[in-house]
């Protein structure tokens, strides 16, 4: 998909465009944890990593992915860490220190947000992390721009000495548009770590030096981003202007055209830090300005501060005065409705009629929730659990993956975040006599489930943890993890079996079952539940889709280890 010559134009997914951008930026290391909507960035690069001599790993979680990126960057290799928005929560401890530390060789953190939660447990706006950590952020409006922004992000990173966040959203990552290729330069993939203790050893004395330097870098970034080629103004008649950030720019442009409205529009590519001089120049001739952005009022708040500090006489509207909505993604229709109200003109279509049509359809149609694939091993475990446990007296702690669909089988009562299920399994037994049974997948167990298991064992919880090991990171499209026996770029690796970890940690009961052997699964679950202390049952059978598509890979690994 991303192989081609300069000048070639391809219809690329936003994530593929970002992957091509990484090649064109001379990135030497990519470390990722898969998560919708970010996954295809890593999946695209792992296909070509060997060919382009690029280090590519699927890390155990987002924090280790970011730590690999820091190591690469500190060794003189341009590095990219890739994750979804909630992944940055996991990586945030290292991320905050990285912000203080700064970089010499470029480091770009690609964080894909998921407004409206198409495939996520919560809605969050990663622009808050940019503000929180004082790290510059760039947001694309199209797949083509996403590709162009990658080399630019490295230029900014190296010019300023800061990591840079590039934040696509679902509608960029998972939409296709024409992308024209540029040159792929030579890349540096190894180097040498030169200690710089005042910036790499985060003791308080160093931290106190790093903080003022961080603030200086932020101002340098603001200056650099004043010149962003991805920020521009669409001049037009009128004293009411619009500032639109990221994908919202598309919706504003289309809505204005649809309603034959004229308004000056500032298309903003850097929500943080704001290019203040450009904004002041834009606001100078306006009576009022509407900020259109998805999720939190990040740009709006900073713009209100800028207006107050600069004394420009302009009214600011957006979310904080209830003109625009605070939740969920925007779309052209939604923006058009709000613009029609704001400009006091007729909407382009009768949105009430559209809403009525949707409501009528909802009355007639039956919902079509996602479901486990035919033959899925997880399904067999959920039905066995149904036979063994009393739902009324059992707390089922779930986790993040295909098996979150255990909720369809009434086998999830609480489910928060990656690995939280084992943490709940460790916690509940101290406060209730109810049976506690957690389900967690293989990749999620390695990612965030191990601390919960250790906590349960060390603090003496009476609990059962069922690891649904389908031998691949299935939900996101079959990535490797430490249980699979192969790495992102295809070579074999030594498996780290889940049962070995449980045994080494001192679990009171550990057994491995085959999900399709119903009787044995039921007996083992009953025995696990009856055992005082921590029981771990590993239910192992390959994901049926993975087996269909890559059965040879499973067979080869089994043969290797036999």
């Amino acid at each position: 998909m991303v192989n081609g010559s300069p000048g070639d134009t391809r219809l690329l997914l936003g994530n593929e465009a970002l992957a091509r951008g990484a090649l064109e930026a001379g990135v030497g290391s990519v470390s990722a944890y898969p998560g919708t909507p970010s996954t295809e960035i890593g999946d695209t690069l792992r296909e070509v990593a060997t060919e382009y001599d690029l280090y590519m790993e699927y890390a155990v979680n987002e924090k280790t992915a970011l730590e690999t990126a820091v190591a690469a960057s500190r060794s003189g290799v341009r590095s990219m860490a890739v994750m979804k928005h909630v992944g940055l929560n996991v990586a945030s401890d290292t991320f905050m220190a990285l912000a203080h530390s700064g970089v010499q060789t470029g480091l770009v953190l690609v964080v894909a947000d998921d407004p409206s939660m198409w495939s996520s447990q919560n809605e969050q706006d990663s622009r808050n992390y940019a503000q929180f950590a004082k790290v510059p952020m760039i947001v694309p409006a199209t797949p083509a721009e996403a590709k162009e922004m990658v080399p630019y992000a490295y230029e900014v990173s190296e010019a300023v000495g800061a990591p840079v966040i590039l934040r696509p959203t679902t509608r960029i990552s998972h939409s296709r548009g024409p992308v024209t290729f540029s040159e792929v330069p030579e890349r540096t993939t190894t180097g040498r770590f030169e200690p710089d203790l005042a910036r790499t050893v985060h003791i308080p004395a160093h931290g106190r030096q790093m903080k003022p330097a961080l603030l200086e870098r932020l101002e340098a970034a603001r200056e650099e981003l004043e010149g962003s080629p991805f920020t521009w103004t669409d001049e037009a008649e009128g004293s009411v202007g619009i500032v639109a950030s990221g994908i919202a720019y598309n919706y504003v442009r289309e809505a204005l055209d649809w309603m034959d409205l004229e308004a000056p529009v500032l298309k903003l590519s850097t929500p943080y830090p704001l290019p203040e001089r450009r904004l002041e120049a834009f606001l100078a001739d306006l009576d009022s300005v509407l900020v259109v952005e998805e999720l939190d009022p990040i740009v709006e708040r900073d713009l209100r501060v800028l207006v107050q500090q600069s004394g420009i006489d302009v009214g600011v509207s957006g979310k904080l005065d209830d003109v625009m909505p605070m939740s969920f993604e925007l779309a052209t229709g939604r923006v058009a409705q709000h613009l029609a109200d704001f400009f006091d003109v007729e909407p382009p279509v009768d949105f009430d009629e559209i809403d009525a049509a949707r409501a009528e359809a909802e009355e007639i149609t039956i919902p079509r929730p996602p479901e486990l694939c035919p033959g899925c091993p997880h399904e067999r475990v959920f039905t066995a659990m149904d036979a063994v446990f009393d739902d009324e007296e059992t707390i089922y702690a779930g986790d993040i993956g295909c098996y979150t669909l255990g909720v369809n089988y009434d086998k999830i009562d609480i489910q928060f975040a990656m690995g939280a299920g084992t943490g709940f399994a460790a916690g509940f037994p101290h406060f209730t006599d109810q049976q506690v049974v957690a389900t967690i997948g293989d990749s999620t167990f390695y990612h965030g489930g191990i601390p919960g298991l250790l906590n349960a064992i060390y603090n003496d919880a009476d609990t059962t943890i069922v690891v649904l090991d389908n031998q691949v990171t299935a939900m996101t499209g079959h990535q490797p993890n430490p249980g699979t026996g192969w790495r992102a770029t295809g070579e074999d690796a030594e498996r780290i079996p889940i049962e070995d970890i449980a045994e080494a940690a001192g679990a009171d009961f550990v057994d491995v079952v085959v999900p399709y052997e119903t009787e044995s699964v039921e007996e083992t679950l009953a025995e696990a539940a009856a055992t005082e202390g921590v029981s771990v049952v590993v239910a192992r059978a390959p994901c049926v889709l993975f087996k269909q598509e890559h059965g040879e890979r499973l067979a080869a690994i089994d043969k290797l280890e036999a």
């Binding site: 598309n250 289309e254 052209t332 049509a357």
Partner: protein, 202 residues
């Protein structure tokens, strides 16, 4: 010039491939193009919706509600679920290849009456039923129903695309050993609508 299509179906029916085929052809013809899709949970047997837009200038990746020229649906209930995207004077090309959702297969709900679906769709625009699965079988593979629908669309609307460009785009999307069946499926879809010659309202 601007074309806006919404393609609906169920995971596994080839909605994304149909959208990408049109998108590839539009890109090859030099139009500004956007294809919008949703991945992740929706791939697990849930509803799948793709948007295709192209022309001299297009903006966001999704067709706005009330702006779709044609709704292409591989499943009738999915057609109705997304029929509010149609503009006034728009059309529905629909295959009545019903797929039971989870609540129906578990007995918790009943699949809606097909004539009720048809009637509700007719409130939203002109409805053309395409026997896409039958035609796909005739073409050599039931999985080519999605390409039958693309063929049907190309006969219903002047796509501003050469049919040969569409065939090239099909070639870029399907495995080589399935190419013949897909090209036949495309042609069968085209003739299925040609023979009824009901042009799209402007």
């Amino acid at each position: 010039m601007e074309h806006n299509f919404v393609i609906a179906g169920v995971g596994g029916q080839g909605v994304i491939l149909a959208a990408n085929t049109i998108g590839e052809a539009a890109t090859a013809a030099g139009y500004e193009t956007r294809v919008g899709e949703i991945h992740g949970m929706s791939q697990r047997g849930g509803s799948v919706l793709a948007h295709v837009r192209y022309g001299d200038r297009v903006y966001g990746p999704m067709v706005p509600e009330g702006k779709a020229d044609v709704l292409l649906a591989l499943e009738p209930m999915e057609a109705l679920r997304h029929a509010h995207y149609l503009r006034e004077g728009g059309s529905v090309l629909v295959s009545f290849d019903t797929k039971d959702p989870f609540p129906v297969s578990t007995g918790a709900a009943e699949y809606p009456d097909q004539s009720a679906l048809q009637a509700a769709l007719e409130d939203r625009g002109q409805v053309l039923r395409v026997e896409a699965v039958d035609l796909a079988r005739e073409a050599g593979h039931p999985m080519t129903a999605n390409v039958v629908m693309v063929g049907a669309l190309s006969a219903l609307v002047d796509l501003d695309l050469d049919p040969a460009t569409l065939v090239d785009a099909i070639e870029s999307q399907v495995p080589a050993d399935a190419l013949d069946a897909n090209v036949t499926a495309f042609e069968l879809g085209r003739s299925a609508v040609d023979s009824r010659s009901r042009p799209l309202a402007p």
